[in-house]
Amino acid sequence: MAKSFEEALASGEFVVTSSIDPPKGTDLEGLLQLVQRQKDVVDAVGISDNHNAVMCMSPWAVCRVALEQGVEPIMHVACRDRNRLALQSDLLAVASLGIKNILCVSGDHVKFGDHVDAKPVHDIDSVHLLEAAKALAQGKDMAGNPLHGSPEFFLGATANPEADPIEPHLIKVDKKIKAGASFLVTHPVFNIENLKRFTEHTRQSNIKVLAGVRLLIPEEVPKYRDGSYPGLFVPEALLEQTEAADMEKCTEVAGNTVKEIKASNLCDGVYLTAPGHEDKIPDILKAGGI
């Protein structure tokens, strides 16, 4: 029997995960195909929650579909769109659907998306969300009320080894670990030195780290430059290289990053993102020697 995501991380093997954005609409056809293509090459698939504040289908439905296809999902939950009542309700609901892996995030600001007049909720932050999920798993809600039936979760959070300055960020990461995160997914990594500095800090705890790797493409270079993608900090040299590259070269570059991260032995796996080009993920892994 295939290992679960949690088991894979615990086993010490290099874990491979990818990311898919739910559709803007009810048409799941394209997503199903992506899931099928990635099924045999990844340990789990992350399903984002109104990523970049662009309105899409709620991830819980997509996670359920993924489960039915035999793929283990990691569900993102953003604090941007729901208050503490709705967040806890949703956590209970997804647990009842068999969704266990939860990635707690603040959420990209609404200004990046397509509903810029929406009211950002942020009733609680990602640290509180981790605490809440942990409390639910222990049979109590945030207000201390006992539950009729508790969920089971494997909790994670995000981190950014490329953050500048890094110190306040590391303090926040420690809070996430204390709050109940068992794994961290990083924003895309471009500089192994920064990853090294980051994992040296996280080594103090037993947290599992999945390093983010993103497929960079020439059409998007202006957006990488102007800060359109929150949390994505691409070094100039890499931007220049990407501008002149074709898809094959871009895939190769991403694959090399995967290879380099694996060889460095700094972390427990990778989390691949390729928005709009998720079909390339198997190719990236192949280029990465996985």
Binding site: H122, D125, D164, P168, K172, K175, G231
Partner: protein, 225 residues
């Protein structure tokens, strides 16, 4: 203080069109300090309205009066001894939203309209520039954050920040804006109190103060019970 900004001119002109005799009622406190609704601004607005309406061949009589402030009844009630309020078709108040409402309450038989949009609680950073500092959340955590408000200054209002979007110490939402939690970290470091930031702050209690809110000072409790 409360910081407000004068509404777009044409919007104000539309509010007073159709009136033959109006009173522009100014306020000498917060809105005077932020150059939006004090005596000088009332004078300029009166001039502008008279000229703009004249360009449309409309004549309107405009009187001006600026009082100490419009958030205390005593100053509003004094107006009766200075002008004949009943003679006006409309009162254009350049107070903040609170002042407009109290003036409306005192002169509840008159149409009272606002000339300003009330924007925030803030401070003067220098002459002519004001910044938002407080969201009146009624649950102040400034002691934990080195005197920098995460609810106001952090775009996501995180009480445990930063988020992953900090870009060279700037906020992901606006590269001109400082990341609040970078500011907080730097301030705490300067004070030798980074341990404050290492404590997880609990979720905000958004309803510790019900809204609309009323505060009665202890010493006056009996008067209102």
């Amino acid at each position: 203080m409360i910081v407000a900004k004068r509404k777009p001119f044409n919007e104000i002109k539309d509010l007073v069109s159709g009136s033959k005799k109006i009173l522009i009622l100014g306020c000498g406190t917060c809105v005077a300090v932020c150059l939006a609704g004090g005596e000088k601004e009332v004078a300029v607005l009166a001039s502008q309205l008279k000229m703009a309406l004249a360009l449309e061949n409309r004549d309107v009589e405009i009187d001006k009066l600026t009082i100490e402030r419009q958030c205390d009844r005593e100053f509003i009630e004094e107006i009766n001894s200075k002008v004949a309020v009943d003679d006006y078709d409309l009162i254009l108040s350049t107070a903040c939203g609170a002042g407009v409402q109290l003036s409306s309450d005192v002169f509840d038989h008159k149409v009272v309209v606002p000339a300003l949009n009330t924007t925030f609680i803030g401070v003067a950073e220098g002459p002519g520039i004001w910044s938002e500092r407080c969201r009146s959340c009624s649950d102040c955590v400034l002691a934990e954050t080195g005197g920098i408000c995460p609810v106001t200054i952090c775009a996501k209002g995180l009480v445990n920040g930063p988020c992953g979007g900090t870009r060279k110490g700037k906020c992901e939402v606006d590269p001109e804006k400082e990341c609040a939690w970078t500011l907080i970290y730097n301030r705490l470091e300067k004070l030798g109190r980074v341990d404050k930031m290492e404590q997880t702050l609990p979720p905000k209690r958004w309803n510790v103060q019900q809204h609309p809110a009323i505060i009665i000072h202890e010493a006056y409790r009996r008067r209102y019970e």
